[in-house]
Amino acid sequence: MLVKAARAHQLYLHNNPTYLRALEIARAAFAPIWEVTDELVFDVTETELRWYGDAVLRESEKATDNIPWMMYKDGIRELRFLKEFEHHELVPLLDILQRARKVSPEEDDLLTMLWEQEFSYLRYRYIDLSTDQAAPIDKAGFRGGEAGTQALQESAPPIDSTLASVVKLEDFDSTLYFLEDTEVEYLREEVRKEYEVDMRRNVVAMLLDTYETQGDNSVREEIAALLDTLMLHILSSGEFKTAAFLLRETAQTSERAPGITPDQKDQLVRIRERLSEPDVLAQILQSLDEASQLPDQEDLNELFDQLRVRALATVFSWLSKAQTPRLRVLLENAAARLAMANTAELVKLIGSSDREVSREAIRRAGAVRATAAVAALAKLTTDPDVPVRLAAVQALGEIGSPGALQFLERTIDDAHRDVRVATARAIAAKAHRPALPKIEAAIQGKLAKDANLTEKMAFFEAFGTLCGDPGIKLLDGVLNSRGLFGKKEDPELRACAAMALGRVGSEAAIATLRRASTEKDVLVRNAVNRALRGGAA
């Protein structure tokens, strides 16, 4: 029953009915035992728990998951359950068994956990496999021998010994030695702080202080190696803020340590270099992606701020790989900061041969409005790959500088519709008037024949945004005029013209729209009404 309860404790949430049932059954199993005895004593062997020599639990092998072996390997040889154990301490024991299963052999062992818990209804005997028999203390084992027998008066030498003294009681006012409330509070506060302080950070500071005060080469080499080791411990414990501290302070030490040699400096700097290496950083990001708990954004940012700029490529490549949505968000934000601070690297990455990295760099260049990236992005507007061209156009639109928009004029008649639509929208968004002739040419040209509604709408809206009243005539012609046989234009084109008029928004444009307000075609009428309501704005 105990094993089943332990299994249930491991597998289920603690409000799960299956778990609660398993506990209930385990508790009930003790009841008949307490009718005949007040304690239940098991001998622990490698694979068995024995009661009076009979195995009551037998496991087939010495696996870390098996209760007898877990106990045996830590030296436990006897378990003694006292009456009422099941009501008071069953759950704490199950907790400990679960924790003990998970810990690595180097962490707190089962004995330490049991020791810390202070069970009242569970006792255990253990052997300490690691402790040698200590020599017993006896008088002969230590300095000095039997106390002599000397008469006080006879043996006393002149009183010059530092040990002989009269203690003045007035010096020791007894009330002094009761701690005042404020003193007790001070001590409690100190203990609280002791357990709140970041010990790793403290150790980093101590190592670097020592580095700066000790000029000996071997000491400095040792400390540099320890910092390297420590960095691993810090990262594996997820203390990114501390890792950032280590990098920041190491950099400072490498600049100011008295008499530091180039070799010593290199050794210190190498820690940051190594962490910025794609392979190493990818390992960190991989472990983050698999971690149950993620660091705070601020902590991650702090660490990334300390990395070499080449880390940016690794972070970019991981944005699409990360499986955990929250990690993606964290990386997005961290990448944005990095990109903002390192536009030169960003521009470099736009041309990366790694498509993922390049695409992310393009996106980031737009997001941070990196005007320095315009030339690199413009180059990509002729890339044979449509997604690359599209991303470049969007980024140029986001940057929105005159130079960027000038390059967009070239993609108005790109071979791919998505690129054209993105161009039209970007031009509209930035109200880039120099593009008006090309937009006008597009809506008057092949757009009417080949484009779908999305493209038509994008171009007409761009036209409406840029043309002003001079463009109303063209739009009115599309919306309201009849052709040779009294036939009106295609309803999709008319609806687009209505939306464009809405973008113009002047009185003349409104008047033109009103004339079409009684239109019978639903698509056109809805577009007109929407434009009149300002929906196109």
């Binding site: 180097e106 009242s120 005997r125 028999q133 008088k139 203690v167 702080k193």
Partner: protein, 494 residues
């Protein structure tokens, strides 16, 4: 049977007897509730009229706790000796959170001349009311008279479910003491052996078995929580040849005992103990000829000595084999020679706040070092003088509150101090008096007759003992140098 198996069985039996001393954990836990309830009821009766709701509530609580123990155990015996409180043969622990209750109850029973109270099933709040009222209104005169007075009051009050008996003397706890002393000796010797092994391993650059150290520190924490006097007594062993190891163990014992007084949890005591045990581990990198140098140390030697804190920091990285590095121990090893104003050594470059653990270990280290005779320090000071110096000399740079708590722990005559009494007897301070008001009247072991003839093993007396006139039977007049009388203080604790 193979030799290793024999060792295993021996160890098992050693642990068994060790756990006997700790007593029943249930009683320890419930005993704490009982002590707090008893103290609460006593206070309520003293402060309010009996019909007051606070009195009623406190008596109900006391009755409830007692009944619960009676129901489980079938008996309830409260035994109060000069230093300890037992319930059903289990000695209760003294902690910071029950310190006031504990000492008040000791004083109350002592003043009333009552040593034992047996409570029978069916006890009522009224029984407790009568008993506690009688305890708080003792008559004058000898202890026997005061006891008779309380007994008569109980009888007059119709209380039959609380029976009392007088105390049976200071050595009433003889059995307990003996077992505690044996357990303490075992813990101490294992600790010294393990510490020696670890420090030698470090010196030789071998791997360190940290599990061994864990067990050692856990043993010290258990011992301090169960009965600190015996282990504190063993710190008086000043082994000339094994100084490095005994010093580490002593500092660990003092630190844990002090930490307990400061209210640290069991886990925190373990952390503190581990840090304290390793505080001087950096000395494993200092050449032995420097450590053992008899002559004046030269500048190079001093540089080595002053380097041991940061060397300790580096050395503790050697304690691999564990997932988590011992950061707290590293901090303590590094900071234990820093003063509160951050002077001392090593020198700081970055801003820092001293850890409270470092402050505790600094005090424990300072005390043990100053009271130990070593190759290069033959003029040791008396423990009392050391404490006074730590308290009064701000240049020493100790935390004044921690020093105060340390003096509170050891008394102004620390354990192991040789004193001369006004009866001309020599005595060794055995433990601080459990009555915190009697800071100058510790429990002492008389080790000579009035003519100075030294005797072994001596006998314990409580210096608060009074004669019929209310005068003290014995009073300390001064401290003395044990060497003058050929006395090895440690022998009396072994």
């Amino acid at each position: 049977m193979t030799a290793p198996e024999r060792a295993v069985i021996d160890r098992t039996s050693a642990n068994a007897s060790s756990s006997d001393i700790s007593g029943d954990p249930y009683i320890r836990r419930m005993g704490r509730s009982f002590i707090i309830a008893l103290h609460g009821a006593t206070r309520a009766i003293r402060l309010y009229p009996v019909e007051n709701e606070a009195v009623k509530k406190a008596l109900d609580e006391l009755t409830s706790v007692t009944t619960e123990i009676l129901t489980r155990e079938g008996e309830f015996e409260l035994r109060v000796t000069s230093e300890f409180i037992f319930i059903n043969q289990t000695r209760l622990r003294l902690d910071l959170d029950n310190y006031a209750s504990f000492t008040q109850i000791l004083s109350l029973f002592r003043a009333a001349g009552v040593g034992i109270a047996r409570v029978m099933p069916g006890v009522w709040p009224r029984d407790w009311l009568v008993f506690l009222s009688a305890l708080q209104a003792p008559s004058e005169g000898e202890a026997e008279d005061r006891f008779v007075d309380v007994a008569e009051r109980l009888q007059a009050g119709g209380v039959t479910l609380v029976e009392i008996a007088p105390p049976s003397g200071v050595d009433d706890d003889g059995d307990f003491r003996e077992r505690a002393k044996e357990a303490a000796k075992r813990t101490y010797s294992q600790s010294v052996a393990a510490t020696k092994d670890v420090i030698n391993s470090v010196r030789m650059g071998r791997g360190v078995n940290l599990k061994k150290i864990k067990r050692v520190v856990q043993g010290i924490v258990d011992q301090i929580l169960n009965e600190e006097t015996s282990l504190l007594g063993l710190t008086t062993i000043r082994d000339y040849d094994e100084y490095t190891f005994t010093h580490s163990v002593n500092v660990c014992i003092f630190s844990v005992a002090l930490g307990r007084r400061l209210g640290l949890s069991k886990r925190q005591l373990y952390d503190l103990g581990l840090a304290a045990l390793f505080h001087d581990v950096g000395k494993s990198r200092v050449p032995l000829d420097v450590l053992n140098k008899v002559e004046q140390l030269n500048d190079t030697d001093w540089r080595y000595i002053a380097a041991h804190p940061w060397m300790g920091l580096l050395t503790l990285f050697q304690l691999r084999g564990q997932q988590e590095l011992p950061y707290r121990a590293m901090t303590v090893a590094y900071e234990h020679h820093m003063k509160c104003d951050l002077t001392g050594y090593p020198k700081n470059v970055r801003p820092r706040t001293l850890s409270i653990f470092s402050k505790i270990v600094a005090v424990a280290d300072g005390f043990d070092a100053a009271t130990s005779r070593r190759v290069y320090n033959t003029d040791v000071l008396s423990p009392a003088a050391v404490l006074a110096g730590m308290r009064d000399n701000p240049r020493r740079g100790f935390d004044s509150v921690v020093v105060k708590a340390f003096i509170n722990l050891l008394g102004i005559y620390p354990v192991g101090t040789l004193v001369v009494l006004d009866t001309f007897e020599l005595a060794i301070v055995h433990s601080a008096n459990p009555n915190p008001e009697a800071v100058s009247r510790p429990i002492v072991r008389i080790v000579s007759d009035e003519r100075g003839n030294v005797a072994y093993p001596g006998r314990n007396v409580d210096l608060t003992e009074q004669n019929a006139d209310g005068g003290y039977l014995r009073t300390i007049i001064k401290t003395e140098n044990p060497d003058r009388y050929g006395i090895t203080v440690g022998d009396y604790f072994v």
